[in-house]
């Protein structure tokens, strides 16, 4: 039951804030309720460690002979780091909101609600629970995004993103069918090999990396605070699945090819992230690049490595996206956060380069430049002047803002030292040093020679190829073709001669049956 404590606290806080906003719009103490919600939910996540690992299951769906799954959640080495990262992120968004003048309780309420859904997803103990949480997050995102976007092209992007996520969800359901066909009820603990690959593809599809797609290329309308929560919670919910895929379930002949394909997508994302005009414009590429590292770890039979990259995506990304008010004196905080993504010994990402499959260890090579690009982009964007100056803020705003950012740093330190069994590791130290060297070179080049890409600019021919636009155009062509065939068929059976066609078909079928019966 402890597992539900932070989730319920977030939901209750969200509900109270919503009711207050609707019933008493002039209520002055909403921030106090929100602050209490963040502190208590954070404490709630630490409560998980009292009885660790532990599971909680809702009353079973009845009749059990038909409904074989029951929603259940698990607090363990895989879910706790994500839960901590999400709760800290939500808290950081609240504490830093003063600097962005985001004081609408409705935004805080939405942020807590989405975080609660995220916690339900990252701690899901079986695929059924995961798809339920995924859907809740997807619907919340759909509604929020549609409310905040303007114009046909932007709403189209939102619907495409929703469709891609649904495709991932349904791929997971198809994995359940494949599993049932081989006589095994799908479960993270007993995943048949043929289902593992589908799960990986489902996560890849939802993250936008398999195949590479970027529905949200312009998101300047989405505010930093809630926008960050929405994006990162959604990513975390998919990353959590990677951690649950057992190593033997991804041991297929396709794995090397997938590793290369993902690396290609990751390299592209890393390059675009480095060249982005600012961290918000580049956010989709940050998600893609870091997700590529997490997927790569999962495919190299290193599920804890995927957790390491996943939490780095949330905490490192969360820091940079919330770091809107800047001042030279606090730049060291950003560099500390970048260290969390560096894979140096004792950092949360230290275990990211481990590979439990000796044959696949060689595949870390194409992933090293991805990490270097991500880190270089991080440093480059951190050195950017930012949206506002921190010096001009009142001291209490400064204090709350820094308090919020420090949450994220402390979470990185905690995860690096105690996040999971085997944390506080040396990792593959030479790989981390190599990446640091490459990062230094890239930062130097970026600052001296590389121009920043204008927001919304097209990526050129290579981007067209890598983003598989040709593939989507082919799909569109096939859809139109099928539409025309369907229209012709409809015209035949629904037109004036439709009844005659139907009767003719009936006679044909009857004669077939009669002949077959003799």
């Amino acid at each position: 039951m402890l597992i539900l404590v932070p989730i319920l606290l977030l939901l209750v806080t969200s509900l109270i804030l919503l009711l207050l906003r609707l019933g008493r719009p002039k209520f002055k103490r909403a921030w106090l309720i929100a602050a209490s919600g963040t502190v208590l939910s954070l404490a709630g996540v630490f409560l998980w460690r009292i009885d660790f690992p532990h599971a909680y299951t809702l009353p079973a769906w009845q009749p059990e002979t038909i409904f074989r799954y029951t929603p259940s959640w698990l607090a363990d080495d895989f879910s706790w780091p994500y839960a901590l990262a999400l709760t800290v992120l939500s808290a950081a968004v609240f504490w830093t909101s003063s600097v962005r003048a985001e004081t609408d309780p409705l935004t805080w309420s939405a942020s807590f609600l989405v975080t609660a859904f995220g916690l339900l997803a990252v701690s899901a103990a079986n695929p059924l629970t995961l798809v339920l949480a995924w859907t809740a997050i997807d619907l919340a995102e759909l509604v929020t995004m549609l409310r905040s976007t303007q114009g046909v092209s932007q709403t189209e992007g939102v619907v495409v993103a929703f469709a891609a996520r649904l495709a991932g969800t349904f791929l997971l359901i198809y994995a359940a069918l494949r599993s049932a066909a081989s006589g095994v009820q799908i479960d993270f603990a007993s995943l048949p090999a043929e289902a593992g690959l589908y799960l990986l593809l489902a996560a890849g599809l939802r993250l936008g990396i398999l195949p590479l797609h970027l529905p949200y290329q312009q998101e300047t309308n989405i505010r930093r605070g809630f926008g960050t929560v929405l994006r990162l919670v959604s990513a975390a919910s998919s990353l959590a699945l990677l951690a649950r895929i057992p190593s033997r379930a991804v041991d297929t002949p396709l794995t090397p090819y997938l590793l290369l394909l993902i690396a290609l997508g990751g390299l592209y994302a890393g390059w675009m992230w480095l060249r982005a005009s600012d961290e918000l414009t580049g956010r989709p590429f940050w998600l893609l690049g870091m997700a590529a590292l997490a997927l790569g770890a999962s495919l190299r039979a290193n599920p804890l490595g995927s957790v390491a990259w996943g939490t780095a995506l949330l905490l490192g990304g969360g820091f940079l996206f919330l770091y809107s008010a800047r001042q030279r004196g606090v730049l060291w905080l950003a560099f500390l956060s970048a260290l969390g993504v560096s894979a140096l010994p004792l950092m949360p990402t230290a275990s990211g380069w481990l590979s439990h499959s000796p044959l696949l260890a060689v595949f870390i090579i194409p992933y090293l430049p991805i990490q270097a690009l991500m880190l270089a982009g991080f440093v480059r964007h951190a050195l950017h002047p930012g949206e506002t100056s921190l010096e001009s803020q009142p001291s209490w705003v400064k204090g709350l803002y820094l308090f919020g950012l420090i949450h994220l740093l402390l979470a990185q330190v905690s995860l690096g030292l105690w996040g999971w069994g085997g944390a506080a590791a040396l990792g593959v130290w030479w790989a981390a040093l190599l990446v640091l060297g490459l990062t230094g070179l890239l930062v130097f080049m970026a600052l001296r020679f590389l121009s920043r890409r204008a927001a919304g600019g097209s990526g050129g021919r290579w981007a067209d190829i890598l983003r598989l636009n040709w593939f989507f155009r082919l799909l569109q062509f096939l859809f139109r073709l099928a539409e025309r065939i369907s229209a012709a068929l409809t015209h035949a059976v629904e037109g004036e001669g439709g009844i005659l066609w139907s009767l003719l078909l009936l006679v044909l079928l009857l004669s077939l049956f009669t002949a077959g019966g003799r």
Binding site: A163, L506, F513
Partner: protein, 465 residues
């Protein structure tokens, strides 16, 4: 007192009288209230048991004789009566919010009464005639005095009427089979005739065309009611045949035929829905997909019994009613339901749009909505028998999902200057919110329908045991 008087003649008579009442709200209130009371009494009142109310004692007898035929409603039929009248109450009560009560409530009540008679009549084959009476009543239900019947309505009546002689002729052959159970030629002929009859009745390809046509040309709310009533009664009637006749029940080919036809309907319905350019037609194809899923559950009788079949009823009812209601609201405020005409309607009509999308997604089996738990159970059971059938059914669901995504894309594709507002009336909002909550509630807690489900299978003596 007789059970048939209460659950057959009373609604028919009330429905006929309501035709003369002008006030729409009163018509809906009386029809909805009566249906609700009939559902409640079906749940609570025992049949063939003497009950005392103070000094007054009465007993509901099960059998009613008329012209040598009998109408029999026993305790076994009571759960299905609860479901039918509960669902009818739902349809009638919401009807004034879309200005359809004056047509739906009286004629719908008569139709439901006639279809309950079809469930109760002995000899069983007379049900075909009663279903035909209900079919004919659809004309005044869907058409007002000055409208000309469209192609969909004409085709509906044609195909449903064509089903009747096949089924009645089967009855004549069945007497021969009862006299000589070993007559294999007779059994084959009867099977072919019966299958042909049900191909018409259940709107199996290529006799499905009336569904999308009707959905396109008439009021979505009224069509929704028709698409709930007829497939449901036809499915119950078909299952009744399987239950009654051992030679059908035990035929080794039956599961394969049902799974093939079911998969064809699910895949065909879902994929065709993906390519439609009219929201009404998409709803029609979704109903074809649902009927296909029911047939697939019947193909699993040996492994799961009849429970899966009945579990589909409540989520389907909720989704279809909400879908039809929202579609009717949109239709009243757009030139037609073609995708071009409904473009951007989500901004002025957000409740109707959201309700429509949730209902659609529920029928497509989206997790967290009412259709999901049962859909997952069916697909998994099918996969254990045949992965290819399960895969086709899955493809059908994905097709319907694709249609939902297209619908969302069109409904929200509004120019930036069009502001968000809510033009729906308060009753419309209320029904949509309640319907949406019910979809989510049942998606998270499918066991809520368990009390009903536990008693429903008893209607079929052999399959329910």
């Amino acid at each position: 007192m007789n059970a048939s008087t209460l659950w057959i003649f009373l609604p028919i008579l009330t429905g006929a009288l309501l035709l003369f009442l002008r006030n729409q709200r009163w018509v809906a209130f009386v029809a909805g209230g009566l249906s609700f009371l009939l559902a409640l009494t079906a749940w609570l009142l025992p049949i063939e048991t003497t009950l005392a109310l103070g000094s007054y004692a009465f007993k509901l007898s099960s059998t009613f004789e008329i012209l040598g035929r009998r109408l029999i409603l026993t305790t076994n039929e009571q759960p299905i009566l609860t479901l039918i009248y509960g669902a009818a109450a739902f349809w009638f009560i919401a009807s004034p919010s879309v200005d359809k009560a004056h047509r739906l409530a009286p004629l719908g009540l008569v139709q439901v009464g006639v279809l309950v008679a079809a469930l109760a009549v002995e000899p069983f084959l007379y049900a075909a005639l009663l279903i035909e009476v209900a079919v004919l009543l659809t004309t005044p239900l869907l058409l007002s005095g000055r409208d000309k019947p469209g192609r969909g309505l004409l085709r509906f009546i044609t195909f449903q009427t064509l089903a009747m002689p096949f089924i009645l002729f089967t009855g004549w052959l069945l007497r021969g089979i009862e006299a000589d159970p070993g007559a294999s030629a007779l059994i084959r002929q009867a099977a072919i005739l019966l299958a042909t009859g049900f191909v018409f009745l259940l709107a199996v390809f290529p006799f499905h065309t009336w569904i999308p046509l009707l959905s396109e040309e008439t009021s979505p709310y009224l069509t929704g009611f028709v698409l709930w009533v007829f497939p449901t009664s036809a499915l119950l009637f078909a299952t009744g045949f399987v239950d009654r006749y051992a030679w059908i029940r035990t035929a080794p080919q039956l599961p394969q035929i049902l799974s093939t036809v079911g998969a064809l309907m699910v895949a065909g319905g879902g994929l065709m829905a993906a390519f439609q350019n009219n929201l009404g037609r998409i709803m029609g194809y979704a109903v074809i997909l649902e009927t296909g899923f029911s047939l697939l559950t019947l193909s699993l009788l040996k492994t799961q019994g009849i429970d899966l079949f009945f579990l589909l009823f409540v989520p389907r009812l909720l989704a279809l009613a909400l879908w039809a209601l929202c579609l009717d609201i949109l239709r009243q405020n757009a030139a037609s339901l073609s995708l071009q005409d409904v473009r951007g309607l989500a901004r002025p009509w957000p409740f109707a749009s959201v309700g429509l999308i949730f209902a659609h997604l529920s029928m497509a089996g989206l997790p967290a909505l009412a259709g999901f738990p049962i859909r997952l159970a069916i697909l998994e059971d099918l996969a254990t028998v045949s992965l290819s059938v399960a895969a086709w059914a899955f493809i059908g669901s994905v097709g319907l999902l694709a249609a939902a995504v297209r619908t969302i894309a069109i409904l929200v594709a509004a120019p930036a200057e069009l502001a968000w507002e809510a033009r729906e009336s308060w009753p419309q909002r209320l029904f949509i919110i309640l319907g949406g909550l019910a979809l989510f509630g049942l998606g998270a807690f499918p066991q809520w329908v368990l009390p009903l489900l536990n008693r429903l299978p008893a209607i079929f003596e052999h399959l329910g045991g």
